[in-house]
């Protein structure tokens, strides 16, 4: 039985399907790709629209007439200072080099998370399922808590903030300028199917920092023999170049693109295989090794290559991931584009694991407990911290300068209307 076959729901289902497939908001009256609705690719995924009936008003654009009459870029700064007649946007943001943050990624960037409370009998209550509808309408992702574009306070006790919140703290004029163009199962090979959901106008908008973070699906598949399905370095090079050419044609001049490497997923098996999965904790009868084997048997594993008891296969997967990371490194050093500069940053799980251990944690606590695969909220924020620090140290121009007027913006505009 398919609920969408009901005539009353057919149109609605079609609209939802379109939003999910194309990674554009379900509710977007002015079709500017920004929404006032949180889920179904709404403001959990990109800055909340502050006027959904005017397509020239959206986060990230250069202000229209210094936003004297309306907040055309939704950063919460508009109007004229009555004391001197200068528009606030001009006073606070002119020359501050505002910029947005955009991630092109997979389920890790979208922060895929299945709550362990949903499957743990001893922790189950009405409260534990409260956020299930939100999660379902965000494709089981939590971009609002992700390492790159998250805007809510972390649910775990961790002080690190997302890249977006750091950029916003650095310059309050960047408020609401985030886009999470990430999708479950995304890879260099299928990014072209939804990259057009990226919203940036070369003439009208501020430059952006784009993080290209396809960190797994080029080497991961659910197939019985995943090796033939892995992206080859040649194919990878060609698709990444295709994406970069697209970005060069759409990003405003002065943007930055950071290519994020692939991890060595061996840590998944190493840290989890003999631990109990949430379904096996009560009776001590299901370890991650068994859970992985079940997923592989059903051919539903998100990454057979790394989530496997077969050491040779895990090593092969890591070797291919390393080759693809080297391809990204090569592209970053050799290729030049007119509208952005290009950088490469490693996905260094080892480093964040050591940092976590210094704080008294264990490496397995950085992995999503239910799927045994994705980096969890803590890992995502530690990775964001690592990325921020590396960029700040090596290429500070990417992050822009600190806005000395941040405090004044806060005094006048408070929380700037929320995210």
């Amino acid at each position: 039985f398919n609920i969408c076959s009901l005539p009353v729901l057919a149109k609605l289902c079609q609209k939802i399907k379109f939003a999910i497939n194309n990674a554009v908001p379900f509710k977007d009256i002015d079709s500017d790709k920004y929404s006032v609705f949180p889920t179904l690719r709404g403001y959990h995924w990109r800055g909340r629209d502050c006027n959904d009936s005017n397509k020239m008003v959206y986060p990230g654009r250069r202000p229209d007439n210094w936003d004297v009459h309306q907040d055309s870029n939704c950063n919460g700064i508009w109007g004229i200072d009555p004391s001197d007649g200068i528009p606030y946007e001009k006073k606070f943001c002119e020359g501050s080099e505002p910029r947005g943050i955009i991630v092109l990624g997979d389920s890790a960037s979208a922060h895929f998370h299945i709550s362990p409370q949903w499957i743990t009998a001893s922790q189950m209550s009405v409260k534990s399922f409260h956020d299930l509808p939100t999660a379902l309408t965000d494709e089981l992702n939590w971009p609002q808590l992700s390492g790159i574009t998250g805007f809510l306070s972390p649910t775990s006790r961790i002080k690190e903030e997302s890249i977006y919140l750091r950029l916003r703290a650095r310059n309050r004029c960047n408020h609401r300028d985030y886009q999470n163009i990430a999708k479950n199962g995304a890879s260099s090979q299928n990014l072209e199917t939804f990259i057009e959901s990226l919203s940036r106008n070369q003439l009208l908008d501020h430059p952006a920092i784009v993080i290209y973070a396809m960190v797994g699906n080029d080497v991961c598949s659910r197939k019985k023999d995943p090796v033939p399905y892995m992206t080859t370095p040649e194919k990878f090079y060609s698709k990444v170049m295709q994406t970069l050419k697209y970005l060069n044609a759409h990003l405003p001049n002065g943007s930055h693109v950071i290519l994020y490497g692939l991890p060595d997923g061996n840590f998944l098996w190493d840290h989890l295989h003999d631990r109990y999965h949430p379904l096996g904790q009560l009776n001590k009868d299901v370890t991650y090794a068994q859970f992985y084997s079940f997923l592989n048997c059903l051919q539903v594993s998100p990454c057979h290559g790394w989530m496997s008891s077969n050491k040779t296969l895990r090593t092969l997967t890591s070797e291919r991931a390393e080759q693809l990371s080297n391809t990204l490194k090569k592209i970053a050093t050799r290729e030049k584009f007119t509208n952005f500069d290009l950088f490469f940053v490693d996905f260094d799980f080892q480093e964040i694991s050591q940092e976590w251990q210094k704080r008294g944690g264990q490496p397995w606590q950085l992995i999503e407990p239910v799927d045994g695969f994705h980096p969890n909220e803590v890992a995502s924020l530690l990775l964001a911290d690592q990325l921020w620090k590396k960029v700040l140290l090596q290429w500070p121009q990417v992050l822009g300068k600190e806005n000395p007027l941040n405090q004044q913006i806060e005094q006048v505009f408070g929380d700037q209307g929320g995210h």
Binding site: I119, F129, R222, L279, F294, L298, V300
Partner: protein, 122 residues
């Protein structure tokens, strides 16, 4: 969603029903009812859950009462299928012989199930 996802979903839900009963000393019926009561009304989640109980509940209860585990329940209800020449996928550990016996026993228990009769293989 593939056949594999259906199987995974079934095994997870039946495991939760079984474990809720174990933790709180509920009957399997109460356990299923509790699980549905926890779900929000939004997106018809609660309604769908009660509908699922109505359709599959009686068979699940019969099978779980005979100490059969979630894997066996889901294979019997045909959410999990063993393709020809492929291994039998299971989450919980079990010996091959025990499996064969458990599945035969389970099939016999739900032999007269109207749901399985009407749904055929699907």
């Amino acid at each position: 969603f593939s056949q594999g996802h259906n199987c995974l979903g079934c095994v997870a839900v039946v495991s939760v029903v079984e474990q809720l009963a174990q933790v709180h000393n509920y009957t399997f019926l109460t356990s299923m009812d509790k699980l549905c009561s926890y779900l929000p009304e939004k997106l018809f989640l609660k309604t769908t859950c009660y509908l699922v109980i109505q359709v599959f509940g009686p068979d699940i209860i019969k099978l779980l009462r005979t100490d059969l585990n979630a894997d066996v329940v889901c294979h019997t209800l045909k959410f999990c299928k063993q393709e020809t020449g492929q291994p039998l996928c299971h989450l919980y550990p079990s010996r091959k012989e025990t499996w064969k016996f458990a599945l035969e026993k389970a099939r016999w228990i739900v032999k007269k199930s109207p749901v399985l009769k009407h749904s055929g293989n699907d």
